[in-house]
Amino acid sequence: MFDPSLLNSELQAILSAYLKQLNHHGVHAHDELFSSDDRIRNQWHPLLEEFSQLGTDTLLARSEEAQNLLHENGVTFNSYEDDPGRMRSWELDCLPYVISTDEWEGLERGLIQRVRLLEALVDDLYGPRNVIKKGILPPELIYTHPSYLFPALNEEETPDRPYIIFHSTDLIRNASGEWLVLGDWAQSPSGTGYALENRITLARALPNLYREAPIKRLAGFLQAQLRCLASLNRGQKEHPNIVLLSPGPGSPGYFEHAWLANYMNFTLAEGADLVVRDGQVSMRTLGGLKRVDIILRQINDPWCDPLELRGDSLLGVPGLMQAARNGEVEIANALGTGVLEHPALSTFMPELCQHLLGETLLLKNRDALWCGEDQQLTRVLNETGQWLIKDVRMPTRVIKPENLSVNEREMLYKSIQRQPYLFVALDKPKAATAPVFNVKTRQFEPQPVNLRLFSLVEPDDLFKPLSERQYRIMPGGLAWIGNAGTPLMESQTVKDIWVMAPVPQPHISLLRQANGPIVVTRDGTDLPCRVADSLFWMGRYGERLDIRSRLLRETFSRLQQEDQEDTGTRLIPDLFAALELDYPDVPSETKALKSAATENTRLTRAEYLHLRNCLLELFAEHHNDGMPWLFSHFLRNCRAVRDHLGDDAWRTVNNLRQRFNDMPSAQSAIMAQRHLEGVVTNLAAFFGLCNETMPHHYGWRFLDIGRFIERILLSLELLRLALLTARHPGIPLWEVVLATTDNFTVYRRRYRSQLHPSAILDLLLFDETNPRSVGYMLKRLSRQIERLPHPNISPYRNQETRLVIQATSALHLADLDNLVNIDHSEEAQAALATLLDQLIQPMSELSNAISHSHFSHVEAPRQLVTMQSTV
């Protein structure tokens, strides 16, 4: 038996402090931990006993551990407005949201009824439309919703599959403990990936509890979801090709899209990867078009097909609706289901449930008013301040009239009166509280919580009529802290939901188990062209970031040297040139001081500070060629191929991200150098891990080609500067070049002597055994390019190969004798200039040639202009 007095004293103190907070304002609202008579609810007993044994210190440590795990796995979200380089990650509360067995049964029944009702409604709305014809739903309510798709209407035949494969419902518990539905997600419910990630994390942080407490497991649900999707093509193919269609790395849910694609083993695709040809949907891969059978879409209805839906959509696939209409592809959820997300539907739910199912609605909705009804409109206009306003054309925006200026409010009410049917008012229910562990105060705090729960068609019932179809609810889900209706993306803290079972549950591995025999594939030609493109650019940006960081590090170090001692040279202007920076005008007062002082080259303090600040500018986020800018390009490409990078490689990307977030605050040269060291080592780790873990298929080859094109180009530019164009050529500058290209050690080992330009040239250009030499890099490029897929077999060499040969022969045919005495002979310099040009030109063209041959899909489809001459 559970006895609170047996808990450790610290936990007892925490609990009594929690209760005190609850009762601060008299009788408390419904709370998940304490019942109304201030007793601890049964479902919390095993948890509290475990916490008591662990002790608060351990709980704190575990909680931090959980945060780290989440951070390292890169569980993040970002909204469109956020800079892609700065994604927020959320905190996972180590206290789960616990639901008892009995309570869950009621909730489950209500949710299953709800999804059946929604399915019946959507069947009707795109079929006979009886709910409109019989006057239950006003036509202006449905027809003005952006996700009611006119082209999806199909009065002639009833589809044999459900529109909704899975769906999610957002709920809260109100102050009296009653469940209230806030809304539904019927197009592409998001959050299962986060829910699973939270579960994995918490199970690792609290292993004993997770193993021993009778918690219902989640893995079975995702397996069933996979089975559902795979069954959608009616067994026509043993291994249907399923893709997850995402709006891309810029979308708020991208982390989850990549995560799900990985977990379920789907290809992560964007609209531009897919094409409709011969009526079928195919994916553009390096090996040509590959047929797609099933699409798990994460794009909202109006954007899915620029032909039949919004013509300005760049996310969708032209012709997709027609392909779906002909049954050439199955989409989950079917196009048009978004209309079920209409916020005003809630006011019609009880009647619809009666009419469509002949049942009483089990789960209540939050109070809402549809302004299309005169009486409700009057209430909305009179009871200002009591309601939140939603414009049905802007599904994600919630307007708080009291936060608007007088003018804005007047505008709002005017537009409501003009077209009342476009507006819905939502109440602001007070939510029940649940305990949240505050790691700073080491206390439990009562906080309002929103829940998202998921439903799924029973896979075997997919093609049964609605009346015979079973649904299942995921026994768990996603909870987040915030007042009722706070969007998930705006919450800082999430909670795992634990549904208690009467008996301990068998453990199901969260790692996906293969369903049926696996198809062994090795060739890698099914890599989407877009992924190859992103890997290529990830390589180029990563390499540029690396060389920039090295060069900048050397510049900071030279700057400090020249600040502290009279080095006899002025390298900084040349280094600025290498960094493509304009050398700044030295402030005039310092010039005057200087001439009066000494003739030496030592920098004055003011000069030093001025130059240093110019360099630190490169760390500023707004600098449009600065380090964060470069990084954001690198990161964008990394994110676009998230599902091709190993977890460890991704961790290094997250470390880099952290570093770049801290970078703009660097105030000193020392700090700056430290950041740059960090970038260099993290990048080395990243590319190292890529080499170690990525299968050496086409994807990896494109990454490698991108890196080496960039490295060759930057090395050649540095050589040109050091040997030809520098204001102050000589040993100090050559040292910088060797350090930047990471050749210093090799040079010293080999020559053990002073730097000599001929030796540098040999090492950096001709020596094919030196992995940093242009000769070696060209050899590597040529090998990689040879092994790329070439769909158009032709007896002639393709352009990429020709360009590499061109550069290689220029190098091989160079007359070394012409290049001796480079530091004195003008002829040698001219010969070197020619050689460098002969190398740089084909390498610059190589990038375009590769894009053209392999990624040429990038061109976006466009509208046929339809202007017609009319009378």
Binding site: G279, Q322, Y421, E859, A860, V865
Partner: protein, 305 residues
């Protein structure tokens, strides 16, 4: 009247198009007063898929795609059509335009009372659409004809004349994207603008109006022969008259459409009945040419008439 109808749309592209998906709404609807003897679409180069369905409004839609490199696209719709006089509402409807507005406003959530399905359907055409938004200025303009307690049909016919006399036909002035408020301000435009404008005005008053797409037989100037391809597509509108149906008006010509008008289809506005639309990859710049012929044919029973 019996007509042979030929409507050719041709695109010439400066570059190759690698893939295109298209929808044509070029085959005429069947109406009680519009018999369609034959109607076919010929497309060059030959498309890979040609599928017909009927859209939300009951218009005929032909989907087709082209996936071999091409730099021209020619779509010709040919049909033989016989038209007869349209019905006209009885003059004793005794319906003010305000009562029509009231009728359209109510009619939802009343399971126990009789629901007029026609009202319900008309309701869609009182709402905003892509090209047409409610506006107080539009309602204000229409009030010159829609005076207090005036009969709906009288007001509609007067309004048709009002636009015809206030506006100047000027094909140089507008493009497809010209907002109707600009048309109202400049008093210039083409048939499409006038149809959109009239619909906007009627909807702003609370009435239901839909956009009609089709053709009209034109006569050559006296003493001249009719030139080939000189006809054009035409646009007008229809207004919902409760308890009767949809009355067509043509503000461009200030008349009520008769046998010389051929209906392709209708929708909320031009966007719903675009004759030919598509999404393509490649192509560069394009050059469009359109030729329409509405050729009167002798009717078998012409002598009897």
């Amino acid at each position: 009247m019996k007509y042979e109808l030929r409507h050719t749309t041709r695109y010439d592209y400066s570059g190759d198009v690698t893939l295109s998906h298209n929808e044509a709404r070029l085959l005429p609807r069947i109406m009680p007063w519009q018999e369609v003897e034959s109607a076919e679409l010929s497309i060059s180069p030959a498309p890979v898929r040609l599928r017909e369905r009927s859209d939300f409004f009951g218009n005929r839609v032909n989907y087709f795609s082209m996936q071999d490199l091409h730099n021209t696209l020619e779509v010709t719709a040919s049909s033989i059509i016989t038209t007869s006089a349209r019905p006209f509402p009885p003059t004793d409807l005794n319906q003010t335009w305000e009562s029509a507005v009231d009728l359209l406003k109510t009619g939802h959530n009343t399971l126990d009372t009789y629901i007029d399905q026609a009202h319900l359907e008309a309701k869609l055409f009182t709402l905003d659409s892509d090209f047409i938004r409610h506006d107080a200025l539009l309602a204000e303009y229409a009030r010159a004809s829609f005076t207090s307690k005036r009969s709906l049909i009288d007001a509609v016919i007067a309004f048709n004349q009002q636009i015809f006399s206030d506006f100047i036909y000027d094909p140089e002035h507008t493009t497809i994207a010209t907002p109707i408020l600009d048309v109202l301000a400049s008093r210039r435009g083409v048939c499409q603008d006038f149809a959109h404008l009239a619909i906007g005005c009627l909807r702003s008053l609370g009435l239901a109006a839909r956009y009609m797409s089709g053709y009209m037989e034109t006569l050559p100037p006296p003493g001249q022969e009719k030139l080939q391809g000189a006809d054009a597509t035409h646009a007008w509108l229809a207004v919902y008259i409760p308890k009767w149906g949809w009355l067509e008006i043509d503000p461009t010509n200030g008349c009520l459409p008769d046998e010389r008008y051929i209906i392709l289809g209708w929708g909320r506005d031009f966007a719903d009945v675009t004759p030919l639309k598509g999404v393509m990859t490649g192509g560069g710049n394009d050059f469009l040419s359109v030729a329409v012929d509405v050729i009167p044919l002798p009717r078998a029973d012409a002598n009897a008439a």
